[in-house]
Amino acid sequence: MAEATSRPLIELHGITKTYGHGSAAFQALKGVSLSIARGDFVAIMGASGSGKSTMMNILGCLDTPTSGTYAFDGFEVQSLSKDQRSLLRRKYLGFVFQGFNLLSRTSALENVELPLLYRGEKKAARREAAMKSLDLVGLGPWASHTPAELSGGQQQRVAIARALVTDPQVLLADEPTGNLDTERSIEIMELLADLNRSGITIILVTHEAEMAAYARTIVRFRDGLVERIDSGQDAGAAAHA
């Protein structure tokens, strides 16, 4: 942790991602270089199809770039095996997917417990941590409900609770407020801002300037490239640009 300040948590260099092969090949990322400092609050914005989710998947170590280098806290992610990336995810990362991705027919509590299960936590410890995490997102009373019995906003919050339960260093959230009304969205953003204040690095994708305004750094994507990065005081103004 001593060197944490001297080195960015995340360093990307010339990242490209090509989907498909031959004539069907499509380059979703065309050479992205980006650094994210520990403790930052980053909002990624950009038009639909500009490569935001692709970028998030790579940042979240779910996917590997076609070329380029990605160093996470010093780990060369692009050269890690699938299992090694899994270990990295379960240890350092929390991911909130664009479409919640909760296990259906499984209670909110058990969904939140899942990452702890793979960390090898004991049942009692899992229960306790999952309950705490659900309480944090204000879903304590809904612990035993299955996703089908929860509203979209509640499902989104279960997904956040699941991402938080392992005390990750980085929380990645792909449009966490995408299908929520403004009131709910603000609730979620306040929650994320609180988490960020407690030291968690947050990277989120959003279309809405209002939500991006909570961030300290705003990264704009356009056609698979970073178009502009605004940080510090500029960010607030840039959000509405």
Partner: protein, 399 residues
Amino acid sequence: MFGATLLLAMRQIRRHLLRSSLTTIGIIIGVAAVVTMVTLGNGLTASIQKQIASLGSDVLIAFPQQTDNNRQPRPFKQDDVIAVREQLAGVKSVAGEVNKNIHAFHNGQSWNSKVEGVSNAFMDARGIKMDQGRRFTAAEEESGANVCIVGPKVLQEIFVADVSPLGEQVRLDDVSCTVVGVFATRAQGGNNQDDDNSVFIPVKNAQRRFTGTDTIGYMVISYDPAYSGAAIQQSLIDLIRERHRLQPGEPNDFNIIDSAALNETVGSVVARLTVAVAAIAGISLLVGGVGIMNIMLVSVTERTREIGIRLAIGALAREVRMQFLTEAVVLCCFGGLIGLLLAFGLSFALAKVIDVPFVFSLSVNLLSFAFSAMMGIIFGYYPARRASKLDPIEALRHE
């Protein structure tokens, strides 16, 4: 972690209860068939061996047998019995037996029975015990006295219940004799005769009054277990061939059964048959395994998204593999367990029907159960591997 995986597997199976039950039917039938076959085979072996054991242990039985050139075999005579007793080392006792079907009369009742000319030595060799009264005395054997030992069946049929038969007269065809004893019921020889439906009289008497010759039907040679049955059998063959004046190359006009060797032979034949039948039954177990594999592949496809979520959250390939493997094994174990229960009932009932003892073997049951669990591993491995190889991103995108 393993407890959680097990719980998850159970829940998954319960979620698709109908599908799971249908899938395990193959395993159920396979295990039930194998265990039933082996259990019945063991029962059959036990029943045959019990019949062979009724011959007595460490006993050779020699009887005349027709050779292929259609000449009547030379019957054994009392002299042969004496020669065997005196000339063969290792022989404890030799006893001849002659028999004839007769009517037994007593108390105004008639009964179809069999008179057997025997000696105390015969009863020793065949392990026949007394129920009431006594055996023959040396004098009775020597003179061929009119005394008899009746079988329990004869006693039951024509003697008055609750009145001691000892000292009573019984008429065998035209010959009257005095009952001196009743022999205990004996293990049935399995030759479709009721061995308890006999009346024993001294050999000499039987030859004089019933067969009219000095020939005997067969002889029972009991030998010292310290000697090898095969060696005694060979010297017995040599001796009888010599006494029958058989030239080298001429076939034996008699046959010798060694109870121990017979026991072994029959045991191994039935065992081999059992293995063969069980192997055929095992094929249905294999078919059941393929059914498991099929349903597991369906399950992996259906749950691609779930697998994606688990992988994305940090599950390792082997953890996902373990989850599906556990599910397949649990499924097979359920099938195996039900199969064992079914086999228990089935073999119990069938043993009754075909009249063999029900021999429950723990090792056969455990082994079959272990085998069904192994089916789960073998046939569950490929689907589980397939699940573990999924790419998290692609799996998450799966509809």
